[in-house]
């Protein structure tokens, strides 16, 4: 019971609780103190995630039975390869975006202020005298409410990634969804409609997931992810058992999570929400928040339900929706004239890649290569390749999309517009921003060396091994499309005046109140650049990634 707990296991609990504690405390602080606390918390989360990643990489699955109560009574926190990788990506992107938001408070949203200035003398006198109910209100840039909400969101993300329990996963998803909606609403009056729509979607998605969890619980009698997976495997082995409840549960869970990741045709909410969110929020939503739903989807399909043959229709339907997402999202991205909606549609397209592996899961035979000389594939190779390819694509998307949205939001804040035609030639004034956009485009297209390339390569090789050649066609089409729409976004910014005869006139940049703010803004450009650089550099990690994912893998 009171066995000494290792430091790593403490990290497993603290990686959720420390950001939550910081979130609660920041409610009581002023703007500047919130920024300091936010950056300190980012450093703490990085420090807490690192030992988890190191221990998991060395081949150990970390488990912590909270309060000393083992499953099925208590809740177990569990970190395997999948958890550690998502945890690490979240820590990196979260820390970089936090530093960006601390350096540029204007990027955190818009707040309402009373127009009339109160005299300082009434602060502890009669409060009712200073009532401003009838005073007109005005919008100002910067919203310190970003900090408690984002730190709470971070805590929820980590809670989802280290959860070993289905109901607890639901609570984590609720925490993420609620704070994400509130973060969108920080974008001011015009973002409220998008936030409200997002709220309905997030709640509906959670509700469907919860019903699915209840169904699984009713047939397995446990909420623990590993235990319920074993119970379902036993049920399936009995032969005459009725698996309709499990199939329905997986349908509901997949539908609920597809709503939350915005899989076509359930993507309508994402465009207004991601493009009207403040500059520091869009990267978090696109890089991290939808990854939480993807993570739970992978858990449900691989760990809970296992490869049940009854799920084949559902797998093909979802893969079909994924293919449609790649095509439709790309076409819609090509039709956009503004930077942020274009990037949002690119998210819709990229989501499609993560669903292509589902038919492979149910048909992991290496039939296509059997009988050919020199091909000996060990069991689970197709599964491992498909999963690590998908995870690499998702992680690469997280880094690249965070960088792209940060750069686009930065340009939008500077020039009060994100019309691509008006931003022509912005590369001359902001070489570093446009450079980071270029780097993240390399990652999103999946050009060699980037993590996106490793992901596509791994997915393609396992698709070929299993004889699913259609995946190759989809991957090639998606790559060409993404090259087209990202060129459309980035190329006009790179235009130099010598290239053509048209004069380049950028819109008037918004003037900043102080010189110190200007230098901070300059330094803030380092954030997207760093993420862009990481997108390309992490491409070398493809093989390492496959190794890490073997830790605690279900095969």
């Amino acid at each position: 019971m009171n066995a000494p707990m290792s430091l790593t296991l403490f990290c497993l609990g603290a990686v959720v609780l420390i950001p939550l504690l910081a979130s609660a405390l920041s409610v009581l602080l002023g703007s500047a103190a919130r920024r300091v606390l936010g950056v300190l918390t980012s450093a703490a989360v990085l420090g807490l995630s690192a030992p988890i990643l190191v221990r998991v990489t060395s081949g150990e699955t970390l488990e912590l039975a909270l309060g000393g109560f083992e499953s099925p009574l208590g809740i177990t926190l569990r970190a395997d390869g999948l958890s550690a990788l998502f945890l690490a990506m979240t820590a990196i992107v979260g820390a970089v975006v936090s530093c960006y938001a601390a350096a540029r408070p204007a990027a955190t949203g818009k707040r309402l202020v009373a127009q009339t200035v109160e005299p300082a003398t009434v602060t502890d006198g009669d409060h009712r005298a200073a009532l401003t109910e009838d005073a007109p209100a005005a919008w100002r840039t910067g919203h310190a409410g970003f900090w408690p909400l984002w730190l709470g969101c971070w805590s929820g993300l980590n809670a989802v990634f280290v959860s070993g329990d289905l109901f607890n996963t639901y609570v984590g998803l609720e925490l993420v969804g609620l704070t994400a909606v509130a973060l969108v609403a920080l974008g001011g009056r015009e973002a409220w409609a998008a936030a409200l729509r997002y709220l309905f979607i997030a709640v509906l998605g959670s509700l469907l997931f919860l019903i699915g969890v209840a169904l699984i619980y009713s047939v397995t009698g446990t909420l623990d992810i590993i235990d319920s997976g074993e119970a379902i495997t036993q049920l399936a082995a009995q032969g005459d058992a009725d698996l309709a409840a499990v199939v329905l549960a997986l349908c509901l869970i997949s539908l609920g999570l597809a709503l939350k990741v915005a899989l076509v045709p359930l993507h309508g909410w994402l465009i207004p929400a991601h493009s009207s969110a403040p500059s520091a929020v869009s990267p978090l939503l696109s890089a991290l928040v939808i990854k939480a739903a993807l993570f739970v989807l992978l858990r449900a399909w691989l760990w809970v339900a296992g490869p049940l043959p009854e799920l084949e229709i559902l797998a093909w339907v979802l893969a079909g929706m994924g293919t449609a997402a790649i095509l439709l999202g790309s076409v819609m991205a090509l039709r956009q004239s503004r930077l942020k909606p274009l990037i949002a549609y690119s998210t819709v397209a990229q989501v499609g890649y993560w669903f292509l592996l589902l038919p492979l899961l149910l048909d992991p035979e290496t039939s296509a290569l059997e009988g050919q000389p020199g091909t000996t594939l060990e069991e689970g190779a197709v599964l491992a390749g498909a999963l690590s390819g998908t995870v690499a694509l998702a992680l690469g998307h997280g880094l690249a999309k965070a960088s792209l949205f940060l750069s686009a939001g930065h340009l939008k804040d500077l020039y009060s517009t994100d019309e691509i035609t008006e931003l022509r030639g912005a590369g001359r004034a902001h070489p570093m921003l446009v450079m980071s956009m270029g780097l993240s485009a390399v990652g999103l297209i999946g050009l060699p060396l980037s993590l996106g390339f490793s992901g596509k390569w791994l997915l393609a090789t396992s698709a070929v091994a299993a004889g699913h050649y259609w995946i190759l066609v989809v991957l090639v089409a998606g790559t060409l499309f993404s090259a087209a729409y990202l060129l459309k976004a980035v190329a006009p910014l790179l235009v130099m005046s010598e290239d053509d005869q048209t004069a380049l006139t950028l819109p008037q940049a918004q003037n900043h109140p102080g010189a110190s703010d200007r230098t901070l803004t300059g330094k803030a450009q380092l954030a997207p650049f760093l993420l862009g650089l990481l997108t390309v550099l992490t491409g070398f990690l493809g093989v390492w990634l496959t190794g890490v994912l073997e830790v605690g893998a279900p095969w």
Binding site: A24, L66, F69, A114, S155, E174
Partner: protein, 314 residues
Amino acid sequence: MTGGVPAADLVLGVGLLASVLCTVLPHSRLAQSMGLLGLGVLTTLAWLRLGSVDVALAEAGIGGGILAALLVWVSVRSPAQPSPDAGTAPRWPWLRPAVGTLSAVTLILITAAVWLRAEQSLPAWDAAVTAAMDRTGVEHEITGVLLVFRFYDTLLESAVLMLTAVAVLALGREDVGPRAGLSAALGTQPSIPASLHWLIRVFAPALFLAGLWLLFAGSTDSGGAFQSGAVLCAVLILLRSAHVPLEKLTLRWLRPVLVAGVVAFILAALAHLSAPFSFPVLLGIEVLLTLGIAAGLYAIYLCLENPVQREVSA
């Protein structure tokens, strides 16, 4: 099932369906809110009938009480707002309800069929709960599950409530400081009849006591932080309606109380990651959580005032 269904249950079931229709069908917001209020009462009775006293109390406090208070407030404040769909009249006005009903019926039929066919397996923790109850220091099993065995879920849920209040406050005026988000709410209240004023004076202390009883009875009987917090929030709303000056108290204490429960819970959890809480720690957390829940619900109520009235462009 030999003796058939008791008449009282039939009446309750029909009443539930009727109150759902009363909530969905009317076009006036006020009528819809009243329908929901009735639905809350009947749902509470249904839970009581099913023997789930804890769920019934939570339903009465939060689902029926606080939610209805919020909705009534909104419908009184802005009764004639057009619905979002009213602007564009659909070509076939019957199409949406028809598709909705059809989908709902299909969904319910499929789910019910699967649910009835599935071999339900009993929760694997039944025996374990009984065996471990003496280690918890509480006697009521539901409290044991909520605060001891699965305390981590409760911790995250109380954080969800806290962050909801933070989110709602963030939509108001100002972003930091004691007045942040609250300035629109601290205006004068509409006057109420003297008889109601008198009634509130009588009821508020009794309700306050009831809230405390729910809190402390939770360790041995049904009740607990969420139900108690809802009742305490109702006391605050009543006092505010009766023009009791709460502004100073609200400005000074709302935020600290809102976060205190969650902060104490997290600190205790960090110290007890692999060992159960001791009873005094548990009780302290429960008291702070109750106050935090009451503060959170009250903050949501206060923030219903529209912050962008008389907005001018910056």
